[in-house]
Point group: C2
Chain length 196, copies 2
DNA sequence: GTCTATACTTGGATAGAC
DNA sequence: GTCTATCCAAGTATAGAC
């Protein structure tokens, strides 16, 4: 399959448009026509760069995961404390949500999982595996430092935290609320912080 | 708009099929053809009962919310303690998830919000308002009893809890995991339970 | 209530010229 | 790389017979 690092400038603009459309209306909700309008070229030109919708969807998810990983590494370089890292993590989702109540690309695709081509399903799963691995390590460190108090394993807490972030975007969007993942993250972390 | 209480038996089977399809593949993922196959009648017969997809979607959401409310009232009749009610609440989602990793109808529709007709959006919003209202009351009671310890307001905790349930289904489905909302609910409640 | 037949639109995709 | 033209399938929807 095509790799996002080898995209021509036009292909890049197409992936940008597809990513934004997926955040808003999902894989089943966007079309080549929509991409065409967003980018300002005709449908067959979109097909020239991405012959099939499957491939386009997979590249979007792949690039999204890569950039998300970059953000996680950046957080490690800026924040030393695991508690700060968790808040910074939540802010990644908040930024997406604050932009038009958009969802996480892979959250949206995860919801649509059962109607997605296999190539896309695979990429989406990788996003969750990578993200949960990172969260688990951060939470594990927070617990061993005593900065976080909770009986459940770091693995389960990571799933809980990520679930809350993804769900917060979905619930907030349904309520047409300004409040999103960051508010939920604060409530969660606060409830797991030991009394001083 | 049509009300779900006035459905003929055929219409009921159509709504059943549509509900199941929405849980699996969403509003944008299902078609009259799919309904037709699930129910065993032809496409125009489906249109006879529900002229437009918009109306069918709205009735599905409407009936789903009503039944969910019934479940909430049933929980109140069976469990007295707010902690038990929260677990029973989580089990409602777990039951849906355990059936083929299906999503909550309104969770799925919430994700698709921006590509949904207004009538459906309205019904979905009602689901979240009703559910959050109920959760807020339960959490409020739990806090005043001292069964739950958390600084955030019951309103915010309700959003947090529901977000975690909706997100858990989405994340679990993406990972193709057996573990769903119930595991997350236990982790959450445990972390908010005061030491004895 | 259900059917066959059909209309109309959109969506994904290809051929071939520039 | 982009275009016009076109294909074919699917999706929503209607007409009208039984």
């Amino acid at each position: 399959m095509k790799h996002f690092s080898e995209l021509t400038p036009s292909a890049e603009r197409i992936v940008d448009a597809a990513e934004n459309l997926i955040k808003a209306v999902g894989y089943n909700g966007f079309s080549y026509e929509g991409i065409s309008q967003a980018v300002g070229i005709r449908k067959p030109s979109v097909h020239h760069h991405f012959p099939s919708k499957t491939e386009l969807g997979a590249v979007v998810a792949q690039r999204y995961t890569h950039r998300f990983k970059e953000s996680l590494v950046r957080i490690e370089g800026v924040f030393a404390k695991p508690e700060e890292r968790l808040i910074a993590f939540a802010k990644l989702f908040e930024t997406t949500y604050a932009n038009d109540r958009n969802l996480c690309v892979c959250g949206m695709l995860g919801a649509e999982n059962d109607s997605l081509p296999n190539e896309v399903v695979t990429e989406v799963r990788k996003f969750f595996q990578v993200t949960l691995g990172w969260l688990e390590a951060v939470i594990s460190e927070a617990k061993s430092k005593g900065a976080l108090k909770a009986d459940s394993s770091p693995k389960i807490l990571a799933i809980t935290f990520l679930s809350a972030m993804e769900g917060a975007m979905l619930v907030g969007r349904s309520l047409q609320s300004q409040e999103g993942p960051e508010m939920v993250a604060h409530a969660l972390i606060e409830s797991m912080t030991p009394e001083h």
